[in-house]
Symmetry: C3
Subunit: 356 residues, 3 copies
């Protein structure tokens, strides 16, 4: 979807009746809630089996599209319905995962966010390359023909919530672990695998928001992920712990604020990300993105992932975060901030600047 393609997505839209649409998963409740607070109509695309659940929040939902499978969102019937309601789609972590990258790339719907970034986000190597080129410190990457003398973390592509990730400290352990993952069908080949330097420190996730209408970067929150079973293992007696394989499935999020003296470094990374996206993928990032880091004990921050859209950690801050208050003296979630940005864009006749 090139830059010049954008306006055709909304030429037939009634700008006085924009609907905010999203998929029923990930951060949908927050997105819908924020949209209602900003006075928009809302539309939820929801799988039949989860309909009963979202019906419990019917106060947040004006229109509902029930699908048998997520991919049905690409069907003409669904797209027409969404377009008829002047829908802007808010992408989140489940969109690419469930609908598929190529389907999303060519989907004839305005998306709030930078569509061309999805392909990069979907590929671990391109993603790390993007961060490095943006001037953001990342972990060293290893290949299997290199010496491995310090701890590494092995990551599998498209693993839901970090499933199957493991830590190793020798090449033998890496190879053994990858073989197991292949035999268990988690991956099909060792080529899919990323071997990253394991940064010793603590994890921290930063929720950024770039506003094209205000031309500014905001930090709207931070969190720590709560992962099963690793965040429970330390509660086991040491001898027992050693017999259980650690796993890293994200099941929730815990709030965090950072030392204020770390914030300039964090914001610098965020600004670097924005600028590099503007240069290489014009018009550049729109709205929420997340840098996912380890903070070392010397204060260095190493980024091992990014998300080019809203992250689930923002679900902590439905009524605003410590940081969002510095910009907005009202309860401002990322979900609401998205709707606010669309509202601002409509007021400034800039809607084509916040969609791709």
């Amino acid at each position: 979807m090139s830059l010049t393609d954008v306006s055709f997505l909304i030429t037939d839209y009634d700008f006085d009746n924009i609907t905010i649409a999203t998929l029923g998963s990930h951060s949908a409740l927050q997105i819908l809630h924020g949209a209602k607070l900003e006075g928009f109509s809302t539309l939820l695309i929801v799988e039949k089996k989860r309909e009963w659940f979202y019906d419990m929040f019917s106060n947040l939902i004006d229109f509902k599209v029930v699908v048998d499978s997520w991919k049905d969102i690409c069907k003409d019937r669904v797209l027409s319905y969404l377009r008829k309601h002047n829908s802007i789609l808010i992408p989140h972590g489940s969109l690419i995962e469930y609908v598929g990258l190529e389907n999303v790339e060519k989907m004839r719907l305005p998306i709030f966010g930078l569509r061309s970034l999805f392909r990069i986000e979907a590929n671990q190597r391109m993603k790390m390359e993007f961060l490095r080129n943006a001037g953001i410190k990342i972990p060293k990457e290893y290949t299997l023909d290199m010496d491995i003398n310090s701890p590494v973390i092995i990551k599998f592509p498209g693993a839901k919530g970090g499933k199957g990730y493991f830590i190793a400290k020798t090449k033998e352990e890496v190879i053994k672990g990858i073989r197991e993952a292949i035999s268990q069908g988690i991956i099909t080949s060792h080529e899919d695998v990323m071997i990253q330097e394991y940064i010793v420190g603590v994890t921290a996730y930063y929720h950024f928001f770039y506003s094209p209408t205000l031309r500014r970067l905001e930090i709207l929150g931070a969190d720590i992920r709560y992962e099963s079973n690793i965040d429970g293992l330390y509660r086991l007696p040491p001898d027992l712990r050693e017999s259980i394989r650690a796993s890293f499935t994200v099941v929730g999020n815990i709030p965090l604020v950072l030392r204020e003296s770390l914030l300039p470094k964090i914001m610098r990374y965020g600004l670097n990300f924005v600028k590099y996206s503007q240069i290489t993928l014009p018009p550049g990032i729109i709205g929420p993105f997340c840098l996912e880091s380890v903070i070392k004990d010397d204060g260095e921050i190493v980024v091992f992932e990014f998300s080019g859209r809203i992250v689930a950690g923002t679900n902590l801050y439905v009524t605003g975060s410590p940081y969002s208050s510095f910009y907005w003296n009202e309860p401002m979630s990322v979900g609401r901030r998205i709707a606010r940005e669309i509202r601002l864009a409509l007021e400034k006749d800039m809607l084509h600047k916040v969609i791709t």
Copy 2:
């Protein structure tokens, strides 16, 4: 206290001057705070030794009953005073613990909540049976004549804040630990003990609220417990850690949000709990309850406890939680939600439906 008994509890009450009463402990400040926000008078029953503390929050307290010992609450003088003020008692974790199950069961005061559930909650085995019958996944339970081949956690009845709980991985360790507990006077017999499969994963506690007036189940928050010394032990060097016995005394709570894709499972459990309570203990659960779980790395949720009333983890959300905002666009704690429910019941002439 049978269903038909309820109305006699409030026949002489002045519905225009209802007072919300609770014991000075556990979640009292939150309950009083919420009651004031909803325009009720408040009454605190407080032990003499803690009176100075609650006096620091006198803005939240209209009437105060100072007792030498908690059991004095059952005395005629106290009950008459509470009834004179048209008091509805809000039960919390300290009520049964300090006043005693039988005293609470026969107490001639309207209680916001399901009084008949207290007896089940007080008995570990009946509690687990209740969950299982409700269709909620629970850990396997062991007896001492069974083989024990995987980790188990040993729990003692009525242990305050999980005191004395321990993890074992062989029957020998179980027996040794129980003997120690008996010799230390924590329990009097191994019959009191519950041996549960230790579920490997991370803990998560869900704060539910069933509203008879709106006939709906709300999720109002989630938390992780902060337990001494287990949540500090990992900070010790490994060799030191091994020399210290883990303990699980709850001293606080940390906020948590869950992956949205886990919420349908959680709400299903909540609905199952409500329905089963309505069938077996009519009129069924009223107001707050909590399911206490481990989330496994495959996303399965196993519930190892419930509380049939407000839990202390809700103290995190005095100004509302990420979840409460989805139902109420105002700062809605569980304490305030209780008062709101009583307010709604009064408006709908349904007070007899929210007390037992």
Copy 3:
């Protein structure tokens, strides 16, 4: 700065145009944000290299003093500018660290807080002595000529964010660790070192606020520190963990509420602190202070540090904490509470009572 010296600091001030001033670090954003909410002008003293960062929050800043180095704050030019704007300086953790104790002690600016406490806070031994004399339980302190039979933590004076702290369990380990610290230049002599009993339990930090205008002590929040690398080490496989030296650099904070039954003990400690400061350092503590503790599994609370001013953990509660709501039915951060106290003092003609 003796008590009688205070009024000369503000004789030439225009009380209708008070400015709240602070250094650009630590909790500056919160302090500025709170000051604006209370209707004050704000002034930020900021290092040249961080100016770009604080410019991103220019909505919170009315006046800005850019300095090449923090110590420039003591220059006449800067002090005159601050005095011209009728500035009250809000001290935080970076003030003593960057400007120096003696410079702050003699600085000709009204400071919101107890200036004479800074000297005690800067000295580990005087600090612990202060706590003990106030009637607050502290860990046993060891010297190198005593037997060491239980775990100890070794602390270095003025270590930023706990850098270099280590845990040991024998005298040999203590001596070895101190020698290393000397050889690495972290300290110059073992005399600077504090050897404290390591209390097994969980850490908890309590945010107090003493109000001279209302003559009351408030608890405005609690937190857990998030420390690199110790809070990430447990995520490593046990064999790997053993090869990495634990470190305790504070990089952030996580929210916490306490069991309500612990609050009386916590408030008692807070009251003891206030009273002892009033007796020994009149007029006594003004505004925020923090007690930093370990809670043992038997519920005993041992305090191992205090901060006599706002702590960074309060950055969690920019829109209020669970506790602040019990006093103030509006979003009350500690930053705002400071401004509110100054506002109250102005209204009651008590400004000289809240500065030193």
